[in-house]
Amino acid sequence: MNNLPLLFCGIFFTLAFSFTGIVLSSHLQFGNLTLSTEELEDDGDGNLVMVDGDPMYPRLEGGVALQGKQVYIEMGCIYCHSQQLRRESHGADMDRGWGPRASVARDYITQKRVLLGTMRTGPDLTNVGGRLQGDAGRDWHHKHLYNPQITSKGSIMPPFAFLYTLQKIDGDPSVNAISIPADSEYALEPGYEIVPTRRAVALVEYLLSLKIDYSLPEAPILD
């Protein structure tokens, strides 16, 4: 074991081996998946295949939601929230109603930065936009981000009140003001209101956009 070339070759090959086996083969095998069409059909052998048509899913990133993703990244949300659903028999992700199906590699192909996450101090968010939708969902997210205790008493999520502005009501209340019930212990002084900043709006739009509501050939949503 005194021979430098020998030692060096060994050192080189061991890492080359895992680099090829893990990184390169991943890239070759599922580094070039394509979008799926909206409709899928049975090929007769019980397999679903894509039919001709425009590629639809997963949806492309963009707009305000993409700006919101940047806020999600900047705030380090990933360190407490995962974005991956485990299959039926492996953990209780499906039983918790976190999503309609397990997530698969193709679900992430449109994302420039993949935020799988490996910690669930808080719940999984892969399909949070499917769980909390529309204006009710938007309202819930704003209250929860402003102060998690309002919606989830006892939560250890940090408040993101710095993404909101406390201001005096001038004339009519703002339309986008957050609705904190007047009898809540977190109610504001009369005459004041909380409005989201642009970043808070974007972040909530991003959360609303996180949805698994489409089937993929390898991962159909079963009714």
Partner: protein, 63 residues
């Protein structure tokens, strides 16, 4: 539809076999050159006349 296409992995698998073969060849080569002999002498190269074998070189003061 199976997504995982193993044909794509063929070059990688071949490369792996080549790596493995060269590793085995290297072991034979080094054994032939006597690299794998007299191991226990090598374990003593850390001792010198300044810090020789058989002497403890670090301890708390009162022990």
């Amino acid at each position: 539809m199976p997504v995982e296409n193993y044909i794509d992995l063929l070059p990688v698998i071949l490369l792996g076999i080549v790596f493995f073969g060269s590793a085995v060849a290297m072991i034979f080569w080094s054994a032939r050159r006597g690299q794998l002999r007299d191991f226990d002498d090598q374990a003593k190269v850390i001792f010198t006349h300044e810090e020789p074998e058989g002497e403890i070189s670090d301890h708390f003061p009162d022990k």
